[in-house]
């Protein structure tokens, strides 16, 4: 039946079958992001370490995971590894493949953020007697976060949609659920428009969260006009004192 069917569209708008798929997409993305951040942080720190072994491991990880397609990685983990005796179930395979891949890309973003923190911060923290873990946790990473959040948000945005690739190893996320529904009801346009709307909602909600995060991590850097005003105040106070001194 050609033509747009508003009734069908309305039916699919709150279809539990698609909503379940959307939930799979969401939890997959969130868990992968958390695991990826941990992996990425570890890889970034190893990459910047003085030990050539640690650097080598990190760079090798980045090379492999960014140098091969995610699809190939997933298929190797799910269908290839069992050949040598390593068998992970579908969920573990999807999480492992996506996290390893995402972690590699995130590690470069995190490294860029850390590099953006002025050398003086490291030196000052060292001078205060902080050890490396403490100075990273208290001084460097909070400042790096400001630079890391926008590209990280970009990555999470992409991840929400990239998870659809796991349908190749039989994960039933939103896109796969849409495809399966079409086989039963044949209304291709209505079903995929609903799926697209679900993705849009997820992305929009993430956008709100990202703006909040940026505001939080950017609070130490006030807008330019305020910065100028604040910078002038100590100078003005000093000038007043000198004038009073001179007038005495």
């Amino acid at each position: 039946m050609p033509g747009w069917d508003w009734n069908a569209f309305g039916r699919y708008l709150f279809n539990w079958y698609l909503l379940e798929g959307a939930w799979t997409t969401i939890w997959l993305s969130v868990v992968v992001m958390i695991l990826g951040l941990l992996l990425g942080l570890l890889a970034a720190i190893m990459n910047m370490s003085k030990s050539p072994i640690l650097q080598g491991i990190a760079r090798f990880y980045l090379w492999i995971m960014r140098g091969t397609p995610l699809l190939v990685q997933l298929i190797i983990i799910y269908t290839g590894l069992p050949q040598i005796g390593i068998r992970l179930n579908v969920v573990h395979s999807a999480l492992l493949g996506l996290s390893l891949n995402e972690g590699a890309y995130l590690s470069e973003i995190i490294r860029a953020g850390i590099l953006s923190v002025p050398r003086g911060q490291f030196d000052a923290a060292r001078a205060l007697g902080m050890d490396y873990p403490t100075l990273m946790r208290v001084v460097v990473l909070p400042q790096a976060a400001r630079v890391i959040i926008p590209p990280l948000g970009n990555n999470f945005n992409g991840l929400l949609k990239t998870t659809s690739i796991t349908s190749v190893i039989s994960m039933e996320e939103l896109l796969r659920r849409g495809q399966m529904l079409i086989q039963v009801e044949f209304r291709v346009l209505e079903i995929f428009v609903v799926a697209a709307l679900y993705y849009l909602v997820m992305i929009t909600l993430w956008g709100v969260v990202q703006r909040r995060l940026e505001a939080h991590f950017g609070r130490s850097v006030a807008p330019a006009a305020d910065r100028a005003r604040v910078a002038e105040e100590p100078v003005k106070a000093l000038e007043r004192k000198e004038m009073e001194h001179d007038l005495r």
Binding site: M1, P2, Y78, T79, G80, P82, Q83, R87, N89, V90, S167, V168, I169, S170, E172, R176, Q179, M180, I182, Q183, V184, F186, V188
Partner: protein, 278 residues
């Protein structure tokens, strides 16, 4: 005119008429309703040997490939194959991406509401398991609590889901039904031990068993006719005529027997099913 010359003209005339007959039929099929003039564009999911598959040289092979080529030849058209996953076949027909789906699409009343279908072969659902049948599967009930792989959107998926629901209602543990884009992916998952069984069709399961790779543990479930599916009634009718001709002259029997497929009952001619037909 001299009688001999008249006779000669009559014979040549009759001969050329017979020669031109298939061309006449083809002349009836142009674009539209064909998507491309002079070509029969058909989608097939070439992942289920021996019906349709890609050999190691990358060439399309199989019973349905030969069937499609023969039909196109008799219609005087060039056969253009499009090898895509099954889940795109029906939307592709609706969206006029191809004229036909020659992939053994099972007949269902829902599909007959939107496509023109010619049931021409019998198929049933089978369960393939790893060589040696380690889990001793001999009926669908033994799949309870196990992982079964199936191709997305197919009749086999609906049947195994239905069987699963019935078993769960009767108190059995639910199966874990994993959907893959093609049967080839599903069989790969079985080979990797990621699933315990693949739910596919009889002849394919037997093919793999004969090759020594997987065992056909169960067969003959939910038998139903497989069809050639079309978007246009004209194209479907032309193909129906050709198919019934093939039945009459023995080509159909030879082809299906060669590949081990199950034929339709010989006493009835093949029929067209579709949206505006009973």
């Amino acid at each position: 005119m001299r009688p001999k010359l008249l006779g000669l003209i009559a014979v040549v005339g009759a001969f050329s008429l017979l020669w031109g007959l298939p061309v006449l039929q083809a002349a009836q099929l142009s674009s539209p309703p064909l998507i491309k003039a002079g070509e029969l564009t058909a989608a097939t999911n070439a992942t289920i040997p021996p019906y349709q598959f890609v050999d190691s040289a990358g060439k399309l092979q199989g019973m349905r490939i030969e069937l499609g080529e023969e039909i196109a030849k008799r219609l005087g058209l060039k056969m253009t194959w499009i090898n895509v996953g099954f889940e795109t076949h029906i939307p592709g027909l609706q969206g006029a991406r191809w004229d036909a789906s020659i992939t053994g699409m099972f007949f269902t009343p829902e599909r007959a509401k939107i496509l023109y279908m010619i049931p021409y072969e019998y198929q049933a659902v089978s369960i393939s398991v790893a060589k040696g049948n380690p889990l001793k599967i001999s009926s669908p009930s033994q799949l309870a609590g196990r992982r079964a792989a199936v191709e997305i959107g197919g009749y086999e998926y609906r049947q195994i889901t239905r069987i699963n629901e019935e078993q769960v209602k009767a108190g059995a543990k639910p199966m874990e039904i994993r959907t893959f884009s093609t049967f080839a992916d599903a069989y790969q998952a079985l080979r990797a031990g990621q699933v315990d069984a693949v739910v596919s069709v009889d002849v394919t399961a037997k093919f793999y068993q004969d090759r020594g790779e997987f065992e056909r543990a169960v067969s003959g479930l939910a038998g139903s006719p497989a069809t050639l599916a079309f978007r246009s009634k004209e194209v479907a009718s032309a193909v129906l005529t050709v198919l019934n001709d093939m039945r009459r002259d023995g080509t159909y029997d030879r082809l299906l027997d060669k590949w081990g497929a199950a034929k339709m009952a010989a006493d009835k001619p093949l029929e067209l099913k579709g949206p505006d037909l009973p």
